[in-house]
Amino acid sequence: MTEANRTDRHDSSEAGRSGRPSSNQKGLGAGLSKSLPIVLAYVPVGWVFGVLARRAGLTVLETQLMSSVIYAGAAQFIAISMFSTGAGAGAMILTTFLVNLRHVLFSMSLAPRLKSLTPRELAVLAYGVTDETFVLNSVELDRGARDREFILGVNLGAFLAWNAGTLAGALAGGFIIDTGALGLEFALPALFISLLVFQLKDQASLVTAAAAGVFALGLAVWAPGAWNIIVAAVAAVFIGGCLESWRG
């Protein structure tokens, strides 16, 4: 930590508390308030996760653990889907790993701009890296200097929101009795459709998704099992990756 940073931190904490506009870029409070858009998204989606996790047979503790220990939306939803279909531990952990591997890109992108932080500080901030906090933190870091408390504030706001939403949903989810008429069985597929559409940004992703769908379909009909997802995904990514290389 350099002298300049230490000075900044001292000034900014005070300013952050008093809310003076010139220092809305530094300090924990500033980071927390900047995370508001993410908070507004994470609370309801976390709630949905809490409800669906309970429906899949998880206890409130297990549900909350998932949101706090794993803390990765898409992977969590995929995991509860796999819990429901009776997948084994190995398949679930490997799928989680694959789905969350993209965080490597986010961390690599953030790392050069966080060089002044100690490994311990980086290890703490790393916990909060998600698609959304990565985008927000990247934009903020590009706009100007942000201290470590700011980044922490963004990450903390998002993390608390996701976990608060999960808790609310997990507790509420326990009260749902007959859900057949409520159409909630389609909630998870609908959510996956949403997330899938968000991923379809270019030709490579479209081709990859199409290939994965076809492979998974074939495997589901001829050789059902939890490893189908991984096999189909790996094969599809290989094809999509080749396409990207040939075009690029």
Binding site: G86, N100, L105, S107, Y127, A181, A233
Partner: protein, 113 residues
Amino acid sequence: MDGMKIAGNTVIWVIFGMGAVTYLPRMLPLVFFSRLQLPPRVSGVLRLIPAAVLSALVIPSLLVTEGELNLTLANHNLLAAFPTFLMAIKTRNLLLTVATGIFAVILLGRLFP
């Protein structure tokens, strides 16, 4: 809901296992590789994984009922998927899309029980 193959306390271990494989890709590059650049081919591939996994999950769930391909009108999941996809593409709003899907399924359940 039956189907949970993993017993009570093992679930906790699986969750921690999933947590570990999630945290390491977040942490290691941040702490150790601040100067490294991934070759574009590798980063390009990593970016495609969520799309592949989500599609591999969704497509069979819409088209396969109990191990068999089901392209009939009785497959409410498949029918409801159409407005759901459209809503996702049009609004890019997660909650609206999920609500659309659920509404579609309820409607289909009432119209064609």
